[in-house]
Structures are given as structure tokens and as C-alpha cells.
């Protein structure tokens, strides 16, 4: 069966009609509005429930800190306020009451710190007042200052100089790396970051493909069960019908994703006027994800877009075939089962494969068509495969799409006219064979 230009005549009309009807559908509009609303409130809610990070406090309501020191090291409390500019106006005094009576001496904006020795280590317990309006972050800041003064007192007690003390308190960090990481320090991300990227991207692909498949299957079955197929088939070729629908659903779903992304950015930007939103950036940094590591550029975005498009085309064609093999709306679930199963398999394999941290596994999952949709772009962004391998992966995926389109073209007309129970895979192959014969002989 040869494809020609006429097979796609009318695609644009199907596309615009389907898209317009999606946009006009009240159910779709309500669903979209609810999703956008949820995304818009997500950042303020996150800030509200998570609270501002201690390191990013700009003001404090803390007024007085009572310190009960039960160690042998005297603290230089008069220097406490100088240790943290945020606490410059806070008064640090020794408590002249026992720990169990602290509550009676504290006002709403006061805190009580109890420093003592337990077994072989020292402990600082921090308590706000019963009517406290202070955040954990504010009390934590005060506790850090006392901790610093206590360390200084200990080293001073052992006769250390200021310089020696400075050397002792200087920070350090530790990294665990593989031999590959050591030899190519700038090439790959850490395991946690890679896992997170893979996880987030796989969820994005899964959502895109599953949402699109359900839309495509529903649209096709709706048309078939409305007995409109014959009326349509005298005006356009079956391939133009399915292509128009797939493109319309693609536009709708991509617009939905872009819209939700825009809502998140708006929410982030607007919330920034009222609250400290750096917590979100810090959350990513704490997971090892920084813009420098991800190297997000227009090129990366193009790579993600091309990969998503190929993934979308693959799953939408599979959905097109499974949707057309059904005749009534009752079959929607059974039709979407196959696509869901394939999408879920791809998702699971991609997540498991990351855990292997093996070059061969990464290469195979980046090249094998269905799984590659989930794995290849992440592997490239994380520096696990070269650009050549990525292009090879795209080519293999494009070939899969071409094969599915060819298979679709062979059976789609007969499938559209099929009525009754759902067509099984064996029957699909038989249809393709019959179509080949009629193409050679009958027509």
C-alpha cells in the first residue's frame, strides 16, 4: 500500500474542527480551569505549609533569649548578638531560674535555651513560650548562635588561639564518586539528581501519553458509536481523519501543559511579592539540581520537545489503532488498557534502569523505541549518552512511528467499518494481510 498526498487531504479541516470542539467543550474547560487553579495556588500553599527556611529569614520577632548553661564552659553572651545580623536587636541573658520553671519567665517573643551535658556529649534544648508566635526558624537561629559560642568557649578553654579556632570551625564537604565520575568530573550528574530528573521526566511523558491516548480513544470511539464514519469517509480518507485528530489532541494537550507551566511561573512570580519563594530553589538544590548542572538551554528544550513529540506520535498511533478496533463507548476502558500498559512498562523500566548505573543498560534503554521515549533525553541531559546516540535513538523512534503509520494506513479503513466486539491483535494482522491482497488484486 502506497501513501500519497490525497490520503492526507482534509487533515487541516479535521484538525481545526476537533480542536474547536475540544475548546468549546464545557467539561474540558472546567477540567482545565480546575487544574490551572490548583497550580496557581500550589506555590503559596507550599510556602505556607513548608515555612520559610531559617537561613532566609529577613526579620525576627525574637526579643529576649534566656540561656541556662549547665556546662563548665562560660559563654561570652555579650558577643551573641554580633554573630548573626538578624539577631542584632535580641537580648541574650543567663537564666536565673531552673529549667523546669522556664515557662513562667517567658513572654510571647522570648525563648529559653538549655545547655547541658548528657552522657558524653552536649545538648542544647530550645523552648519557645507557651503563647509563642515565633517560627522554628527564628529559634533555630538563636540556638545556632549559642552552639557557636559554646564551641568557641570549649576551644578557648583548651588554650586554642583565634586562628586555630577559625581553622577548626571552617566547613568541609564530602563526595562519593565512581571511577567514571572521577575521570570525567564535568560529564555526569550524581545518582540522586539523575534519579530525580528521570523520575520527573518519566512522569511528564506518562501524563502526556496517557492523557493524549484517552482523548484520542474517546474521540474515535465517539465518532464510531455516533455512526458518523460513513458520512465522513465519503469526504476524506481515513488516514486524514486520524491524522487530524491526533494533531488536534496533541495541540490541546501541549497547550494544556504549557498553560499549566505558565500558571506555575505566574504563581511563583506573584507569590514572590508576598513571601520568600527561595524555598523551592533550595529544595531543588538540596536534591542536587542546579541550573548549572542541568545546563538548561534552548538546545535542551528543543531536545525535550523533539523527544516528547516522537513519544506522543508513537502512543497516539497505538491509541488510534486500539480506539478504532472498538465500536462502543463501553469499550473505552478496554481500549485504553493496552496503551496504559505500554506507557506504564516504559515508565517502570526507565526508573529501574537508572538505578543500575550501568553504561550498557543506559545505552539499551536509550535506543529501544518504547523505553527510549522515557530514557534517551534524560540520559543525554545527564551526560550518560552522546548526541550521536540520541540522534540514533530519535531515528529508531521515527522509524517506529513510520511503521505504525503504515500499519494504520493498511487497516484503518476496515477498522473504521468494523462493528461488534473489539478486534483482537491476531485479527488486526489478518486485516493488514487482506488489505495487502486487495491492494494488489481487487483495487
Amino acid at each position: 500500500m502506497k501513501l500519497n498526498k490525497n490520503d492526507f487531504t482534509g487533515t487541516g479541516k479535521v484538525y481545526s474542527f476537533t480542536l474547536t470542539q475540544y475548546a468549546k467543550s464545557k467539561a474540558n474547560l472546567i477540567a482545565m480551569a480546575i487544574m490551572m487553579l490548583l497550580v496557581l495556588v500550589s506555590v503559596p500553599l507550599l510556602i505556607f505549609f513548608k515555612g520559610s527556611p531559617a537561613a532566609n529569614l529577613k526579620t525576627t520577632n525574637l526579643e529576649k533569649v534566656y540561656v541556662l548553661n549547665e556546662t563548665q564552659y562560660p559563654l561570652l553572651l555579650e558577643q551573641a548578638a554580633q554573630q548573626n545580623s538578624l539577631l542584632a536587636d535580641v537580648v541574650f541573658v543567663y537564666a536565673d531560674f531552673p529549667a523546669e520553671n522556664y515557662a513562667a519567665h517567658l513572654n510571647a517573643n522570648d525563648a529559653f535555651l538549655h545547655l547541658y551535658k548528657a552522657n558524653n556529649s552536649y545538648v542544647i534544648d530550645a523552648y519557645p513560650s507557651k503563647t509563642s508566635a515565633l517560627s522554628d526558624g527564628e529559634i533555630s537561629q538563636a540556638s545556632s548562635v549559642i552552639s557557636f559560642l559554646f564551641n568557641e568557649a570549649r576551644f578557648r578553654g583548651m588554650g586554642a588561639t583565634e586562628e586555630q579556632f577559625a581553622v577548626v570551625i571552617s566547613g568541609y564537604s564530602s563526595n562519593v564518586a565512581s571511577v567514571d565520575d572521577y575521570l570525567n568530573p564535568n560529564q555526569a550528574l550524581g545518582m540522586d539528581a539523575r534519579f530525580l530528573i528521570q523520575y520527573v521526566y518519566a512522569i511528564l511523558v506518562m501524563m502526556l501519553c496517557m492523557t493524549s491516548s484517552i482523548y484520542i480513544i474517546r474521540t474515535i470511539i465517539e465518532e464510531k458509536s455516533s455512526k458518523l464514519v460513513e458520512l465522513l469517509m465519503i469526504s476524506i480518507k481515513p488516514l486524514a481523519m486520524i491524522t487530524g485528530k491526533i494533531l488536534a489532541v496533541m495541540t490541546y494537550v501541549f497547550c494544556m501543559i504549557i498553560g499549566l507551566g505558565a500558571c506555575f511561573l505566574i504563581s511563583f512570580w506573584v507569590t514572590g511579592f508576598f513571601a520568600d519563594v527561595s524555598i523551592i530553589r533550595e529544595m531543588l538544590i538540596s536534591l542536587g539540581l542546579t541550573s548549572a548542572l542541568l545546563n538548561i538551554s534552548w538546545f535542551t528544550l528543543v531536545i525535550i520537545l523533539v523527544s516528547l513529540l516522537l513519544g506522543y506520535m508513537t502512543f497516539s498511533l497505538i491509541s488510534g489503532i486500539t480506539g478504532t478496533s472498538c465500536s462502543s463507548m463501553e469499550d473505552v476502558n478496554s481500549a485504553s488498557q493496552l496503551t496504559t500498559m505500554i506507557v506504564m512498562s516504559g515508565y517502570m523500566i526507565s526508573i529501574i534502569a537508572v538505578a543500575f548505573e550501568n553504561t550498557t543498560v543506559t545505552l539499551i534503554t536509550s535506543l529501544f523505541p518504547i523505553v527510549a521515549i522515557f530514557c534517551a533525553p534524560v540520559a543525554y541531559v545527564c551526560g550518560n549518552i552522546t548526541f550521536t546516540i540520541l540522534v540514533l535513538s530519535w531515528l529508531l523512534q521515527a522509524l517506529t512511528v513510520a511503521f505504525l503509520a503504515w500499519f494504520c494506513a493498511k487497516i484503518y479503513r476496515d477498522l473504521l467499518m468494523h462493528k461488534g466486539s473489539r478486534v483482537q491483535f491476531k485479527e488486526l494482522l489478518s486485516m493488514a494481510k487482506t488489505s495487502e491482497l486487495s491492494a494488489k488484486g481487487g483495487k
Binding site: 479541516k13 470542539q21 455516533s226 455512526k227 458520512l231 486487495s438 481487487g442 483495487k443
Partner: protein
């Protein structure tokens, strides 16, 4: 223009469902495709329109394979449908645009057809008092202190009666002003008033010089319009040709006789078959004109007052039943 269907064949596994169907339409008019249930009429139509793959044969329109590109076809399918939840106007414009009718022209045609088929109120918004909504009317209807008229949106397909849905489907078939119109059971499910409305439209399309292929079980309707026909029985052609010639070949054998008294004894004497009798109106089956004349002479001789003496060829219904019956007996 001409339509040539030659050796159209369809098999499902080893079962033949359409067996070498061939016919031609060399001039405008109505060609009837008749047959029992499951004879293969709809399958033949679907093959002609390239909806089903063929196991043999070809369909030519002006000596070119019949295709959406070569012929403007209007089709009213046996299984009728509309998008249940979409606006009817959107659907009609969509179907028109698929047939390359520009949107502005489509709107004009929809308006004209809606008026003719009396479905305007289902396609356009109306006021609560039933009058059609217009933006100008909305402005004019508004004044302070007066009660504003409520605008009612047009209905969706699933809110229409079956007959009104059929009218919309008929519009979709004719919206592109097609050269070849294929109507599969066009009048089934319609009330007498709408049946007459559809018949008038079909007559007008014939007058415009369109080529029509009609498949129906309502023989009286087919007989009214068709010039040529094919009768299918269990995938095979059992009768084909020009309707008048087919009728002539059967001779004038149907006699309707209305008199003022009982003539049973004369009917028996003349050895004529009595089909039905009601208040001295007799439906008789004669072997030919000679037998009918013999009965007429007998009645006159016995001074029987004759109100009606009508000798006719068999109806299409009778021909159909006879041909299919003979075909079944042969099998």
C-alpha cells in the same frame, strides 16, 4: 456523465456477500438497488464509495475511478448519526467544508435548507417567544423597564426527535450540491408529512439532473422515482433492467373492478383469481388482456353496472416478491 459499476465482488473468508454486481447509469435519474435483508445492497454501496475494500470489480465515474477527488458524492447512510453533543451548525459547516464548500457559502446553503426542511429553530438561537434571535433584535428588544427576552441556544443532536435528526442528516448529504446522490433507505422512520417533504426534494434533485442511487424497502416510493433497477437476493443479481420494460414483460395482469352488486359467480365462471374483495370492489389477477376482456363482456351482457375497470401491470412490490420467491425456490 456516467456511472459504471462492473463486477463488484466482496467476500468475507469464503462467503461471497456481493457477487459480480454490474450496472450502468448513462443519464440522470434514479437507479434502485433493491433486495431482501442481507442481500448485499449496503455492502455494494460501501464498496462503490471505497469504504470497504473490494475483492473484485471497479466503479467508474466519467471513466475515472469513483473517488472523493473525482466526484462530488452526497450520501445518506443507512446507519445515520450526528455528533450528539456538538452544535448542529458547527457539524453542518464541518461537513460542508470537508466537501470544499467555503464557510460563507455553507452558511447560505444551511439557511436555505433549514427553511425548506423546517428545522431553522433547531439550528439558530431563538427568543423565548419562539422568534429567531438576531443581534439587531437583541438591541431593539432591550429597553429600561421592559422585560428582556431570554435567548435560547440552538439544540444539540441528542435533543432532537428521530425525524428531525434525519432532516439534518439529509442536509449533510445535500449540502455540497452533489452530482451523485446515494440514498440508503431515505424515508424509513419518517411520518407521512415529512415523507412527502423528502419526496418533493428527491423529485427536485431529479429535475436538476442529478444521478441518484436509491436503496429502499418501500417499493411504492422506489417505483415512483426509479427508471432502472437491480434486485439482489443473497448476494446475487436476480433481476436487472429498465422498470417499464420489466413491467411490460410481465403483462397487464392486475385487474381492479368496482361494481354495484356481487359478481362472484361471473369471476368463477371466467376462472379469474380473486385476490381481495371489499364492498363490491374486486382485486383480481388475470392471465392477460384476453381473460380480462372476457370477464368484462360477461358483466356487460348481464347488465352489471361497472364503476371502475382498471387493468394494470404488476407493481414493483409484486415483481420483487415473485422474483425473490422464484430465486429461493430455485435454491
Amino acid at each position: 456523465m456516467s456511472l459504471i459499476v462492473s463486477n463488484l465482488t466482496k467476500k468475507y473468508d469464503e462467503k461471497i456477500v456481493v457477487d459480480n454486481l454490474s450496472f450502468e447509469m448513462k443519464k440522470p435519474g434514479v437507479y434502485a438497488l433493491l433486495g431482501t435483508n442481507g442481500a448485499g445492497k449496503t455492502t455494494a454501496i460501501r464498496m462503490m464509495l471505497d469504504m470497504l475494500s473490494r475483492d473484485g470489480g471497479e466503479v467508474l465515474w466519467n471513466n475515472q475511478p469513483l473517488d472523493t477527488a473525482t466526484c462530488n458524492v452526497g450520501y445518506l447512510a443507512e446507519e445515520r448519526g450526528l455528533y450528539p453533543k456538538y452544535s448542529l451548525m458547527d457539524q453542518l459547516i464541518y461537513f460542508a467544508r470537508l466537501r470544499d464548500v467555503p464557510t460563507a457559502e455553507a452558511k447560505k446553503r444551511i439557511s436555505a435548507w433549514a427553511e425548506r426542511l423546517e428545522v431553522t429553530e433547531y439550528l439558530y438561537p431563538t427568543y423565548s417567544d419562539g422568534s429567531l434571535f438576531t443581534p439587531a433584535g437583541k438591541r431593539a428588544g432591550f429597553s429600561f423597564g421592559s422585560k428582556r427576552r431570554k435567548v435560547i441556544p440552538p439544540k444539540k443532536a441528542d435533543q432532537l426527535s428521530k425525524g428531525n435528526q434525519q432532516k439534518i442528516q439529509f442536509m449533510t448529504a445535500l449540502i455540497s450540491d452533489p452530482e451523485l446522490i446515494i440514498l440508503d433507505e431515505p424515508l424509513s422512520g419518517l411520518d407521512p408529512i415529512n415523507t412527502d417533504l423528502f419526496r418533493t426534494i428527491i423529485r427536485d434533485e431529479i429535475a436538476k439532473g442529478k444521478y441518484l442511487i436509491m436503496s429502499s424497502h418501500q417499493m411504492a416510493t422506489v417505483e415512483e422515482f426509479c427508471t432502472d433497477l437491480t434486485i439482489l437476493d443473497r448476494s446475487k443479481v436476480v433481476l436487472q433492467g429498465n422498470l417499464n420494460e420489466i413491467k411490460k414483460s410481465y403483462g397487464r395482469v392486475n385487474l381492479t373492478l368496482k361494481v354495484e352488486q356481487d359478481i362472484s359467480k361471473y369471476i368463477n365462471t371466467a376462472a379469474v383469481d380473486l385476490v381481495a374483495e371489499k364492498e363490491f370492489e374486486y382485486q383480481l389477477k388475470v392471465s392477460g388482456e384476453e381473460q380480462a376482456n372476457k370477464l368484462l363482456a360477461m358483466l356487460i351482457a348481464n347488465q352489471i353496472s361497472i364503476i371502475t375497470f382498471d387493468l394494470r401491470e404488476p407493481s414493483l412490490h409484486e415483481i420483487f416478491v415473485k422474483v425473490v420467491g422464484e430465486s429461493n425456490e430455485a435454491k
